[in-house]
Symmetry: C2
Amino acid sequence: MGENGDTEIIEHHVDEEMEKKRILRSHGSSFMESVTPSERDGHSSTQSSHRLLAYSDALISIIATVMILPVAHTKVQDNEELKESLQVLLTTKIAVYLMTFLIVTVAWAAHIRLFQVIERIDDCLALLNLACMMLITFLPYTFSLMATFPENILGILLFCACVMVLGFIQAVIVVYGFSRPFLLNDQIQVSENQVFYKHHILKVIMRVPIMCFFASIFSFIFFQMSYVILAIVIFLPYISQSLKWCRSKAIGQVEETPDSMLFYTYHPNEPLSKERVEAFSDGVFAIVATLLILDICEDNVPDPVMVQKQYGGSLVAALQNYGPEYLAYFGSFATVALLWFVHHSLFLHVTRTTRFMGLLNTFSLAFVGGLPLAYQLTHEFPRNSRNELEAIQISCVIIFFAGVFQLAIWVAALFSERETLHPYVRYGGREHAFMLAKLALYPCVALGTFFLTCILSKFSASIFHLMEITVPFAFLLLRLLVRGGLTLLRLIFCPDGPETRSALEEEEEEARMPFNTIIT
Amino acid sequence: MGENGDTEIIEHHVDEEMEKKRILRSHGSSFMESVTPSERDGHSSTQSSHRLLAYSDALISIIATVMILPVAHTKVQDNEELKESLQVLLTTKIAVYLMTFLIVTVAWAAHIRLFQVIERIDDCLALLNLACMMLITFLPYTFSLMATFPENILGILLFCACVMVLGFIQAVIVVYGFSRPFLLNDQIQVSENQVFYKHHILKVIMRVPIMCFFASIFSFIFFQMSYVILAIVIFLPYISQSLKWCRSKAIGQVEETPDSMLFYTYHPNEPLSKERVEAFSDGVFAIVATLLILDICEDNVPDPVMVQKQYGGSLVAALQNYGPEYLAYFGSFATVALLWFVHHSLFLHVTRTTRFMGLLNTFSLAFVGGLPLAYQLTHEFPRNSRNELEAIQISCVIIFFAGVFQLAIWVAALFSERETLHPYVRYGGREHAFMLAKLALYPCVALGTFFLTCILSKFSASIFHLMEITVPFAFLLLRLLVRGGLTLLRLIFCPDGPETRSALEEEEEEARMPFNTIIT
């Protein structure tokens, strides 16, 4: 096991996919033979749904992060206090951003489950799915309306109408899928109670649209009630789960479904598709990393006439004004890219994503989305002003939470490490300490910078820029640092050990650590 | 073959991947055993590069389409003629957009080749790749500077500096990869002339940076020359190929490399990674589809004070002003989504993408990127004005070219159909007519709308909206239409055939068509 450790990570991925495909193939072909030709005549050619899902993930991730743009483009006036203008931001735009992010991820999770049941698509399903996507991309706008006109029911009505049409199209997709069973998940295909599955899935899909229907009716009578119902929609999965748990405690286990994995159960330990969690996260990271260059390309090209007049034709002098913007761009790009890198390393070792890990991932991504805004704020104020200090501290807080939620994914994974983690990174494994160090680096650095700027408020900008520059190098040298740290720890706590061992022996010992812990 | 036709498309994909993985596994494991432990000690854990490449594709596709935003946000004044303002647009912003798109896709193609050689990554390579991405995302800004200040050399210098640093980092990646051979492509791993490969790849990678170095020197002496060199950089692959062809014609085949697939040869028939072409296209389609909602969410939420004053508090009345914007959004989303759908159907049947098909795909995507702009123009002018007519015609032209280049991919694939297409869609195959109809629908509709608006210029807007609404339904009914059309054709050209056959028999005959064409 220690010998071919390096290929193992790759091989593991390969194994998983081949396993999946072998199942698909053995089930699939035997099923295709059992279908009579007349059944297969009417439909268009069946396709693998892989690329449709990748495209949907890309669209949904863009929409989830879009609403940060109005927040970022709110001009904070220099003469008023940052806190005051922040309160305006906080009450409406940031709320809209977070609500959009949450509702879109709820829609996305439902989309995952739907296409876990329907595994193959044809042209008709592809077009229906595109119609769904169009409705989902319109949701952020209804939230903007709600936030700007909280007492006007038009926003609520629009939102409810979108969700109801969405529910209707998804119901059509389910009915269509079950009418052509070769499109379904292989387990459902061979299952005998297909009709039962169909009714259960339809019931779960229609739950949210029906609640929205009531919300739209309530909006005419008592519109505050509608907002309560909408809040319930977002947290429905978790409420439903806790209700189920309460019932099971009160009257015992009523009905244990034969195969709960195929149901929309909203159980925290239920697996989400790891591939799609990765694709969605990639989309968010990519959009967020490039948000600032979008603005820079549009706004930071000086006007030729202005350059001629104010700077005597010297473009370099004119561009020096934009220096802080470039710095903000490179800073936010580097931070987002490195957070992606940590995320990538983490999910490389994750074998299965649970719903709870998905939720933590969503929170982490929501903070990542706020990063460009924070970096932009950092450079909008004059040096050593109170506003600048606060902007830097807000950036630190956002980085801290983005990192801490990533760490939380790791902790959540460790709690059920047998199902969710690769043996190498489980507690006491060879890569465990290194992975932990990667995940802890950003929260620690952000926390350190925050407190340093509190104490040395005069040098806050320099400290922040120093942090930006050193962190990428810290990642490059992290493996060395971790090895050094572990050696140091061992020297401190076991000073009677053989201190003269070479670094190579150290590492060999590290490799043997899992066995050591089993023995001791 | 006709019996299990529906699984075949899926199976085919599975086959391909399993093949790839079997090769990887058999080579990989045998190699890993042959490496001595000391060689494998120093490096961090090896990882599959799949997700890194997906993230890079997402970033690059966003950057490629970003420069359409300044074009879209240029306000066209209503009182002046559209043509005049279009000339301003055309000379600078559209040129910047197209140049950015082309140069970014050149960088992307080089990135594909680089990571076809280096198939596995470790932490260090991941970080180096992120640094590359940061530089690539900065390229559009240098183009903006060049376009706004064509006589100032700062833009050229910045661009050349970026490309040179990019080349340096890529050279470091190559040297790093070859110093740890387990990261390399399996064929190169087992090859004996690794050093030769390394030098060849380094030579090709350094070609562009060296040209940029000369361009930056020329910019001080005679800056027009620099632009010529930059233009050469974009078309270098094709120039290099034609030079090679001329040389081979003049002095005969000099050196035939043993394994040209592993080289950067820029041959038009050379395979590009199909997966990455799809990922890049998905990214472009996703960004383009959502570009308008970005604007709508930011700009089209009315100000509460304004609503109170102008509309007496009626939000519905205030929102009616934005009606055309919503229409533009849904129209452009639907068109982009359907073009994605056609692209998806096409690549489902493509088994291998050649470099020439990749080039056609780039052109098609460049036109797709212009769609939101065209749709926005359509609704900015008063009804029945000359400007509106021209905006609608421009939209038709853009849709036409986006569709025609997709059709060209298909034609190019047909020319080497044995290597590039699934047997089912080859000329005379069962799906051939249907695929052709899908690809031809948008160009035909756009052309038809264009000429109709020329004749009935008074009803141009109605015609255009009718087109928007009918096209999605046309896609849904296309299979029926094609079948009907084929029957009609057969009735016209072979009127002596058995005309009373049922539709089912017709289809069976269709399935047998490839054999018929072989016989006749």
